[in-house]
């Protein structure tokens, strides 16, 4: 065979699924190339405050993973990068792929940068931060969060004064190690791998698709990830619950579930699976922060199926006095600094109107656009919503029609963290099984 070991795996997406699979494979002694579109790893979980049902802070349980991934001698990180092309080895050369990775220019020489943060302090530009779901600001030179791995900044060309008007250079002037490099260009790297795991995750249905809930333009109507940032100690309000419009503490907060989910006529027919649990958690955490506040949750069915999940939602209702209302919210209205929530309580059969200070919407989950792009590149089938289809749903949940290409986590549909971790472990098992078989298992691990 032409391609001798060392065998290595390309993993696309460095959220919890991608990191889990990477560590699983690297700890068995095989190399991993981990490609992440954003400047740092951690994915959606890095945006979360605390996690159900234990209320462990997400940062506390995630950080060891991001740091371990970042430092692992067998994991090569390509952050701020995208896979541009994948070419299978010619027939007869075994399972393998030639992969073209495109690294975006950070305009910072990461080999020299120490991550001190001076550049971010000195940069005069303040723009909305995507990581903070636009509730907080970042600079034109930025890292996603203070806990970023790798802790190296990138310059956002669109907002950088130097790139737009040729002036400023503040970051360059103050950088103590001379790491700023405005002339840096995109890099293309070609590598060979012997397995691929797709772990590009999900995104949320944009509020603009939900005109009935303000379409993303109504003040104090935010999505669930934005609320996570409000709850997070490292978020824009340092963990204080303040409404975006006027910075006051909201006394009445309404959580709307199934926003875009379970609605085959107007939106998406499927259940997004994770919202029931995180809404219960969010309502609970809100009550822990604002003791005299009232939390309402509008739901169709409470889907708390998992170890200690049902008990958790019970606790939200009984101990934290979260008021659950079975019914769908028909619309929202902004009046006198309040958001009026109009809905039906299908249990009492009555119309309900709540004058809320803040409304948190749990939008449907969608496959990430990267997933569609990669599915096209690899010729992988998806369902009509764009979720990747496994080879067979029951016994082959992580395999695809392409030998050597596996799926991990929410690329296949909505999943919560434990299911994602197990699923990603399953994808890693397939890779390890394939590699060990190839090298001769009893001869030991990596070749």
């Amino acid at each position: 065979m032409k391609h001798d070991p060392p065998l290595r795996t390309l993993i696309i997406g460095a959220g919890i699924a991608g990191m889990q699979a990477a560590l699983e494979i690297a700890n068995a002694g095989y190399g991993v190339v981990l490609v992440e579109r954003l400047p740092s790893i951690g994915g959606r979980m890095a945006q979360l405050s605390e996690t159900f049902p234990t209320l462990d802070c997400a940062q506390c349980i995630l950080t060891p993973r991001t740091v371990e991934t970042g430092h692992h001698p067998l994991i090569e990180l390509f952050t701020y990068s995208q896979v541009k092309d994948i070419e299978p080895f010619p027939a007869g050369e075994g399972t393998g792929f030639r992969v073209l990775i495109h690294r975006h220019p950070a305009y910072v020489n990461w080999d020299v940068c120490t991550g001190c943060g001076y550049c971010q302090e000195k940069c005069p530009v303040r723009v909305d931060s995507e990581f903070e779901r636009n509730l907080g600001k970042r600079k034109a030179i930025y890292t996603l969060s203070p806990q970023a791995v790798p802790n190296k900044p990138v310059i956002d060309r669109q907002h950088c004064i130097f790139f737009q008007r040729g002036k400023c250079r503040a970051c360059e002037r103050f950088c103590p190690t001379g790491a700023i490099d405005y002339t840096q260009e995109a890099q293309s790297v070609e590598i060979e791998v012997h397995a691929i795991i797709l772990a590009t995750g999900y995104e949320l249905y944009d509020l603009s698709h939900l005109p009935e809930y303000g379409g993303g333009r109504m003040a104090d109507v935010i999505d669930a990830l934005a609320f996570e940032r409000l709850l997070s100690a490292s978020g824009p309000t340092a963990g204080k619950i303040l409404r975006p419009s006027d910075g006051t503490v909201p006394r009445e907060v309404v959580f709307i579930q199934c926003a875009g989910s379970r609605d085959p006529e107007r939106h998406l027919p499927y259940c997004s699976k994770i919202c029931c649990m995180y809404a219960a958690k969010q309502a609970m955490l809100y009550r822990h922060r604002v003791h005299d506040g009232q939390a309402y949750v509008f739901y169709i069915d409470i889907r708390a199926a998992g170890k200690r999940y049902d008990e958790f939602t019970q606790r939200a209702m009984e101990e934290d006095n979260v008021l659950y209302l079975r019914g769908k919210v028909s619309r929202l209205m902004r009046k006198d600094g309040k958001v009026y929530v109009l809905g039906a309580d299908t249990l009492s059969g009555r119309q309900i109107e709540i004058a809320a200070d803040l409304v948190v919407v749990a939008p449907a989950m969608l496959p990430h656009p990267e997933t569609r792009r990669l599915a096209g590149m690899l010729g992988l089938p998806t369902d009509e919503h764009g979720w990747l289809l496994p080879l067979e749903p029951h016994l082959h949940p992580v395999e695809t029609i392409r030998p050597g290409v596996f799926l991990a986590g929410t690329v296949t549909g909505p999943m919560d963290i434990p299911e994602t971790v197990a699923h990603a472990g399953g994808a890693a098992a397939k890779v390890l099984s394939m590699f060990l078989h190839r090298t001769g298992a009893l001869a030991g691990g990596a070749g």
Partner: protein
Amino acid sequence: MARIGVFVCHCGLNIAGTVNVQQVIEAVRGYPDVVFATDYRYMCSEPGQTLIRQAIAEYALDGLVVAACSPAMHESTFRKAAAAAGLNPYRVEIANIREQVAWPHQSEPEKATEKALDTVVSIVEKVRHDEPLVPLTFPVTRRVLVIGGGVAGLTAALEIANAGYPVLLVERSERLGGHVAQLSHLYPSFDPSDTLLTPLIEAVTSHPLIQVLTDAEVTGWEGQAGNFTVTVRGIPSPVKVGAAILATGFELYAQQRLPEYGGGRYPDVIDSLQFEAMLKAGEIHRPSDGRIPQEVVWVQCAGSRDPVSHCPYCSKICCMYVAKQAALYRRAIPGGQAYVFYIDVRSQGRGYEEFVRQVMEEYEVVYLRGKVSKIIERNGVLEVWGADTLSGQALHLNADLVVLAPAAIPGTGSEVLARLMRVATDESGFFAEVHPKLRPVESFTAGIYLAGAAQFPKDIRESVAQAAGAAAKVLQLFARGEMVAEPTVATVDEELCAGCGRCVEVCPYDARTMHPWRKLATVNAALCQSCGACAVACPNKATTIKNLSPRQIMAMVEALL
């Protein structure tokens, strides 16, 4: 003279919201041997760890105290960071000022700050006397034991065998396939379940590396991760294995425990597996008189979600299989009427929501939101009493057949296995995972992993994914070929040991034995769990736990007083 650094973590607001971190830093700076002290928002983060590594180099630190969360969370994180900077990791200790200080004393910030300082200085005393140690390594036996021949166990076995490692698969019953073998069809495809199971069983039984033992049971278990010895009823001699996967599945809550539904009393009240058997046989009839039932009621959450009388948890799989059963009933008996009583319809998974909608709309199954309160049999008719919580009305239906969806409870024999193999279980008897989010396939016992419903009820797809996840853990261990263990185990000072043997008596892990010919007690470091029972029992203080010596303990206590 030691050179100790103290690093106090804010943990966002978790610690800093209660403890005055600056005050702790100021106070500890003056403590003997503390040459550096600082704080950071998240010490475990990349910049936090960089701070630690740089300080080790800059101040030539030879010991660290990290005041942060429980050592269960981040001890290994900080030890690794220190090792990367050239410091022996066993000279790094955690002062737990989150779980033991900030969280329980939120209402008393001043006292909490005082306690945080006391905690930190007592750990400084410990670090002062910590010995630099090296982790222990043991070779691994590269064969796995899989207990349970259901879909999870079969998947795990096949995955590991396909990689090239031998598998011993032990199944209690006479056949492989577990509960899936009892099912008629799958949801949401309506494919016969045999189309899925038969090839899987075939692949396992024909695999040269898988030894299948049916009608067998694990009766003996000893050793430690990497090197266990298992005794199985049905084979003559014990077998050495390096790891085990528990795939013991679930059982249905016995109908007899549901007297309110006439379970076990009325012949025409059956459980969902009995109904599967009817579907599989293609004959749906009432057990009492053989008539074809024209009105069938499914009762969900029978024993689930009922913290007062039965199981507090949701059994997760019932909503979907009930929808499937009702649809198959309607297919088989087009004139029949199907009703489903539910609390919440939990159809979460790709295609599941759409499936239930199809069952309601195309198969015209009537869903009633409410709990059934009682079932009474009168003249061969079952009266089902319940409430429709949507209309707010009490409801009463006459049925020919009632199908209960009983709670899923831990598989038979899992309790015995848990004791035998020393594996922790949760409050419901399912095997406990190390961390519900990030370590869902690992048991608390090193080398023993969890697959499928043994950990909590799961459907086929999820069981299979988790079984593969457990297999990944085993493959990782076998590929490495060695097991690494903590060196902080019991040790014997031969000068002091009188050979009385009390340590051997008290050791719960069989880690202590007498020397074969010298009058001396010895330690099997691979088995020792550092519990300290021997150290307490030793009358001469000849036995101590490494880095938890009496001298250290006394110094820590003095610092606290």
